[in-house]
Amino acid sequence: MKQYRCTVCGYVYDPTNGDPDNGVKPGTAFEDIPDDWTCPICGASKDQFEPVE
């Protein structure tokens, strides 16, 4: 599963860890996160993330 980086603050979403503080379980692919999820650091929306090459 791919990691995604927030283009606003640089936070990297790692599917292995998920974002449990905001209800995203470890092992959740970026694509499967609800659309209203926002960057846990800066609040950017999901469409402001890009895949880490």
Binding site: V8, C9, I41, C42, G43
Partner: protein, 401 residues
């Protein structure tokens, strides 16, 4: 020590830093201020603190108005040390009922001061609390310029306490916009935007739009650095609109470094070409101009020419460092051109072009490389590219209007 009543029962109690000249790499030749505000109502509220080394100034000013223990709430609009550095001492002194911060403010305060037992009160974006006759609405402004940044707005006073936004590193005994030289004020405000907020221009645009749509009335903006905008808060809002929309002006920069004056000769020829079209030009040698001042000029320039000779198959360190700094600030919507002399390999132009392509600059030319020392013809070509860029700048501004 002087305190200043900025609105009825709201006082400036901050500190002037007359000594600071280097703010994590940003040149602050005029010093700065760390603004903190004390509001008296049924609850007494302190907004922000100051850099640690000036804590006694803050305490002194608070004591001229009240016993610090009478302060009920401390609002932390921003966790960076120049505003929160005095917090541990102030919390010990004040014993506040609440330390008000955003969710990210809470996380970041814990990560700075490691005090899980402080009486944190986390506010949501848009939440309002009453402090008596008046109230405070908190507006999260994440990444303007840290994740914890927020504004405190007092609607009854039309007062926006704006944390670092709209600030200036300008150390003065004056507290208000109408008391200082206007060109100095706007230069320092622009320098602040360029060095601290430039990369967050999309967030600035969004914030300005949401504030306008919400119809929030503001007749005073009190930032955490520099003077308070009381006479003309619209002036700085308008400037932020221009800067955040990357609205260029009829201005170009030739930024260069040189080893044996060859690239300098090319730089002068490029500048000559630009000047001949009527565009305002600045020749900025990286060895004498501070990077934080160059980026202040970058912000409203429409054309950027970069010149650097090749050293050891790469760039001279001053240009490499400058490009790294500028890259982080994410410049946009400009014309670009790279040039430089070389001896045998000549990679510098390629590196500068690559940087400008990453920023999606419109390159007016593929770049000019000159072996060792430019000939008259080489310089003529440089001048022609300068002219070409000048014409493109003028055309694009006509279309912009």
């Amino acid at each position: 020590m002087q305190v200043y009543e900025i609105k009825k029962d709201i006082y400036w109690v901050g500190a002037v830093d007359w000594l600071v000249r280097d703010f994590h790499g940003y040149s602050t030749y005029k010093g700065t201020t760390y603004n903190a505000f004390l509001m008296f109502d049924e609850k007494t509220v302190l907004f922000d603190t100051v850099k640690h080394n000036l804590c006694s100034d803050l305490v002194h000013r608070i004591r001229t108005l009240t016993d610090p223990e009478k302060i009920d709430y401390i609002v932390v609009n921003h966790v960076e040390m120049d505003h929160s550095g005095s917090l541990p001492e102030i919390v010990d002194l004040v014993k506040p009922e609440k330390i008000i911060c955003s969710k990210m403010g809470h996380k970041n305060l814990l990560a700075h001061f490691h005090k899980p037992d402080w009486p944190y009160h986390v506010v949501e974006n848009g939440e309002t609390i009453s402090v008596g006759k008046r109230s405070i609405t908190f507006i999260e402004t994440r990444m303007l310029h840290w994740p914890d940044s927020m504004f405190s707005y007092i609607p009854e006073e039309k007062l926006l306490i704006s944390s670092d936004a709209f600030g200036q590193h300008l150390g003065t005994s004056e507290r208000f916009d109408d008391e200082v030289d206007q060109s100095e004020l706007m230069y320092q405000a622009k320098k602040y935007y360029a060095n601290i907020l430039y990369l967050y221009s999309p967030q600035v645009r969004k914030l300005l739009q949401s504030v306008a749509e919400a119809g929030i009335e503001i007749d005073m903006i009190a930032p955490d650095h520099g003077v308070i905008w009381r006479k003309d808060p619209g002036k700085i809002i308008k400037a932020y609109e221009d800067w955040s929309h990357h609205r260029g002006t009829k201005k170009a920069l030739v930024i260069y470094d040189t080893m044996w004056h060859s690239t300098e000769m090319m730089a002068k020829a490029v500048a000559d070409g630009l000047e001949s079209t009527g565009v305002s030009v600045k020749l900025l040698d990286l060895s004498v101009n501070h990077r934080s001042e160059i980026v202040t000029d970058v912000i409203d320039a429409k054309g950027i020419c970069l010149g650097c000779p090749t050293l050891n198959n790469g760039l001279l360190p001053a240009m490499a460092g400058f490009l790294m700094y500028l890259r982080g600030l994410r410049p946009a919507k400009k014309f670009g051109f790279a040039f430089g002399s070389y001896g045998w390999s000549g990679e510098a132009v390629k590196h500068m072009n690559k940087a400008m392509e990453d920023w999606k600059f419109d390159l007016v030319h593929e770049g000019i490389r000159v072996k060792y020392v430019p000939t008259h013809d080489d310089l003529k070509k440089c001048k022609e590219v300068g002219q070409l860029m000048g014409q493109k700048i003028i055309e694009s501004l006509e279309n912009q209007e």
